[in-house]
Symmetry: C2
Subunit: 299 residues, 2 copies
């Protein structure tokens, strides 16, 4: 049970956690904090938070759990503001998409990562953002990755795990660096490709007509290019090494494909595309199996 | 009214045209032709075609409309086989994703593009393929692009237009080269990026674990990487110039972004991502308006 949860950034991620916990009855009081009083008022009207403050130091007072759901670039300033106002036994966790970056922000503020600061990342989202998009089942059947370090407090890990499990999620632990590599591959690179595809089309020769002929496949493919540019700026910068590494790998792959196309090497092209198709079809199959097993477990 | 329609390739595209026309009552008899007797039998069982032949020369006998829904690489051999067996007034059209390529195949076989060969391309598709995936409303509210040339027969253009409109589609005409450029941008490049993204992940450091953590966004983004590798090999080769040009543009864009990320130039990154987000959001808005207007027209 959480007595007093303080959520920084009551948007889709923070708001959905609040709603999920409320539904599960796991939380007494939820306090919201953000720079926008309007957003906080709206969140309170919607019953997502009980109270709010735009002052971080005030917001965390008496909280036994703090959840940071703000863009990566905002982690350090918030931590600096709350540092001297935290309850002694408080547990801190976050939803940042790159873990090394949050770890370093915490180290810069606290000297070292506090044992009860459990780095985390819910692998969940929606096309829409903001508190109006928050739903109580966003984390149902989704994965939450925690990246505890060697001296992380086991009770704190357990409490953060229980918080997410109450929302229907399954929790897995990964090494900080491995998390950042995996997310660069499965999330950061795809977002960059989607943004850059659309940007390329804006500037291409038939640009004025191109978007008229974009079919459903294109709209699916570019859905993530409607994501928040500021959030994704932060991710690119804060997970720079892994992101640039993935872009390099992708560039090499694309360069090789260009040679195949240029040489009209049909067999090599089919082999390349089949490699991708097989991997994707296998992923879908394994996700489906995983889901079926979960459903069986719940019966 | 079409007396006898001969469809080459009774899969998603060809089968859905047959079903749409049947529903509209625009076609007397539909003949299917493909290399696989099993597929043709299945199509007949499903009531999609009335009869079939695996012999192209026989299949086109007496047909007043021929629709080619085969991979681009199969256009030339089929045209060569049917050339001497076509009825005098036959209209030919196709569904190929690159028009210059089909035009050249026809020129190679017939000496020049026959005036009643109306090059076409339905901008429609589904994730699934094959005759089992065919549906009678695939073309409802979708765009069909025709690319007639200067000596195309107007009656033939009108008849092909009427055929597609009977399936609920709207027909627009474009220049061959413009079509190929636009499709390279909105369809061919996205497919290539999706294939190459998945292929990159197969070969990256954390490959064995990467696919376990791919969320819904990744699945949407890579949906088109489950497309048929042979069809996409043909498109890459047959629309080589436009495809390579688009890849070059994309590569340059990505290279510039890498510099921004490397220099941690946050403002430039936000500008780049916002350019994409704005263009995509505008596209969605304009598509929605277009749909609303169509709905109004139908009331």
């Amino acid at each position: 049970m959480i007595d007093r949860l303080c959520i920084f950034g009551v948007g889709l991620i923070g708001g959905s956690l609040a709603m999920g916990l409320r539904k599960a009855g796991l939380c007494q009081t939820i306090i919201g904090c953000s720079r926008s009083k309007n957003h906080l008022q709206r969140a309170q009207e919607l019953g997502i938070i009980d109270d709010y403050s735009t002052n971080p130091a005030e917001a965390v007072k008496g909280a036994d759990m703090v959840f940071l759901a703000v863009p990566l670039g905002a982690m350090h300033p918030i931590l600096a503001q709350i540092k001297d106002h935290l309850a002694e036994q408080v547990i801190i966790t976050d939803g940042g998409s790159a873990k090394q970056s949050v770890k370093e922000a915490a180290e810069a503020v606290f000297g070292s990562l506090p044992p009860r600061f459990i780095l985390g990342h819910p692998i969940a989202g929606r096309e829409k953002s903001g508190v109006e998009a928050a739903i109580d089942h966003l984390y149902q059947d989704r994965k939450i990755i925690l990246t505890p370090v060697s001296d992380s407090d086991q009770t704190a890990i357990d409490k953060v795990t229980a918080m997410w499990e109450a929302c229907g999620a399954s929790v897995e632990c990964l090494d900080v660096k491995v998390h950042d590599q995996i997310l660069a591959a499965t999330s950061h690179l795809p977002h960059i490709l989607a943004y850059e595809l659309v940007a390329t089309l804006v500037d291409c020769e038939e640009s004025d007509r191109v978007f008229n002929y974009a079919a459903g496949g294109f709209q699916d493919f570019t859905r993530i290019a409607s994501s928040d540019p500021v959030m994704w700026r932060d991710i690119c910068i804060e997970n720079k090494t892994a992101v640039l590494n993935m872009i390099d790998l992708f560039e090499n792959r694309l360069k090789n494909l260009k040679v195949m196309i240029n040489h009209q090497d049909g067999d090599a092209i089919v082999e390349e595309f089949s490699l991708a198709k097989t991997a994707r079809d296998k992923m879908l199959l394994s996700n489906r199996k995983h889901k079926d097993n979960n459903n069986k477990d719940n019966q």
